[in-house]
Amino acid sequence: MSNFNCDSTELERRFQLRVDEEQRIEPKDWMPEKYRANLIRQISQHAHSEVIGMQPEGCWITRAPTLHRKIVLLAKVQDEGGHGLYLYSAAETLGVSREELIDRLHSGSAKYASIFNYPSLTWADVGIIGWLVDGAAIVNQITLQRTSYGPYARAMVRVCKEESFHQRQGYQSVMALARGSDEQKAMAQDALDRWWWPSLMMFGPHDGESAHSAQSMKWKIKRESNDSLRQRFVDQTVPQAEYLGLRIPDSKLRWNEERGHYDFGEINWEEFENVISGNGPCNRQRLAHHVQAHQDGDWVREAVRAYDRKQLDRVGATEAAGNRKKHAA
């Protein structure tokens, strides 16, 4: 990587120029290897997050309290899978196969959003996840609609549209609880208490401590800093919680007139590091679930390949027979 020759330095300069001018980079364009690698890491992490994110809410599909909620939830989890698909496709334009990406997920070398390593314990969690987790995701993804890599930016446009729909549904579902019985209110508050801090962690470490941030900002595969995105999320979410009559579990939370933003307490970074590095409450179950499903599907994928080969052979045989006939004629 370090022995650039003149040509590639020049290519890189031109590349950066295009990025600076907000031109979209497309799959067939030249790009620095590190840009490609970084994008693959980021997009696949995003894709894996969507797919692993199907689990915490998915475990409530069979127990949803009404037909309406069951349908809404199943459709939502399905959409997350759909986002995973868009994003895998975007990553594939960078010359990596989905199978490789999944291998990296299973081997632990690729990550996913650490929030999905917390368990979803009550029905209220489903609503809170929609409200907070999808809410946090959107704050980030809206900026990524302007990311420098074309396929990624376009995937984000589609994803954002659906996510805001989910976020609203989640909020409405929490509202039903907040306006419900005492038990329901308590359930909603309990879920908010458990998911609030992990939601803030979704934006990653403070700007100074983020490994990839500076270069990613320069390449515009990241458009805004972790801390500023987190602040935006807090600012938009606090009034929503107030409206619901729910209490955000942060004694330091207060409006700062001067800054025009909410001040809020410090994240427990030790917990963040612990969960990221594989020791969260559900890391093993999440991965095991995905690996199991994938292994259970081995024979199906193999059968599809075998069937397709047979079909090709048959077409081949028919054509050959056709050719023989022609020659014989």
Binding site: P65, L74, V77, G81, L85, E183, W299
Partner: protein, 255 residues
């Protein structure tokens, strides 16, 4: 035997159709995040959503016919197992992907023909529901048909699994064509579909698919009945316990 009024027959008829859709939708929804391809997760979720959507329409209508203040959710979630009257084929656990696809083929061929006939029902609501859903079943059938053929004619393993799935499921197909008292009582007025009339077309299509899939049609000797009488399989109770949990633990709330 208590005399059953026409309205009671209609209620029971619609409720049974609702149960079929709910129970199958519930089973299929378990595939979400467990399919062999991500694409398949989405496709199976689609099928599940179609069935849950049907369930909702049928339950709404049943609640309206009954007119005793019970809601669609009361009917869906607050009966005990003996009161559910879905066909057994719909309640069997999802099994492996071959099992799910074999069942889908059997159900899809049946449903498509049934809904086509129900489109002509003299009951406007039933006819409207059928018209809204018949296209879905066409799509479902295209999928399950393709999968049965691919897996039947795929590898040795996939062939064995498909054949075993059909062998294990076949005994549950017979009751599909037998209907129940309520269905029969409503045939004359043109409200219900006489299931027995579907048998021939079902046989034709299923035989065609099996043959294309290089699979053997299982023997007919073994037949399990009981769904329409609320005689279920033992896996039904635990499934119900899970499905009903919230409504049972928190009765009478809005969600």
């Amino acid at each position: 035997m208590t005399k059953i009024s026409g309205n009671e027959h209609l209620f029971r008829y619609v409720l049974a159709l609702a149960d079929d859709a709910l129970v199958l939708g519930q089973n299929l929804s378990e595939w979400c995040s467990r399919g062999p391809y991500l694409e398949e997760d989405l496709a199976l979720a689609n099928v599940a959503l179609d069935y849950l959507g049907r369930a909702r329409m049928f339950f709404e209508y049943a609640a309206q016919i009954e007119d005793k203040g019970r809601t669609e959710d009361d009917l869906a979630f607050l009966r005990d197992s003996r009161e559910y009257r879905n066909y057994l084929l719909h309640e069997l656990p999802r099994g492996d992907f071959a099992y799910t696809m074999a069942r889908q083929l059997m159900v899809d061929v049946f449903s498509l023909e049934y809904l086509k006939a129900l489109c002509k029902s003299t009951d406007e609501t039933l006819s409207a529901i059928a018209q809204r859903t018949v296209k879905e079943s066409e799509y479902h059938l295209r999928r399950s048909r393709t999968w049965v053929v691919r897996l039947g004619d795929g590898t040795e393993e996939s062939h064995t699994r498909m054949q075993k799935a059909f062998d294990d499921l076949w005994g549950y197909s017979h009751e599909l064509f037998e209907g129940d008292d309520s269905e029969r009582a409503l045939v004359a007025e043109g409200i219900s579909v006489d299931s027995s009339t579907i048998r021939n077309e079902w046989d034709r299509v299923v035989n065609e698919v099996l043959s294309e899939a290089t699979l053997k049609r299982p023997d007919e000797g073994w037949a399990i009945r009981g769904g329409r009488n609320g005689i279920h399989t033992e896996s039904f109770g635990p499934m119900l316990a899970e499905m009903q949990y919230m409504q049972r633990a928190y009765p009478g709330l809005e969600w």
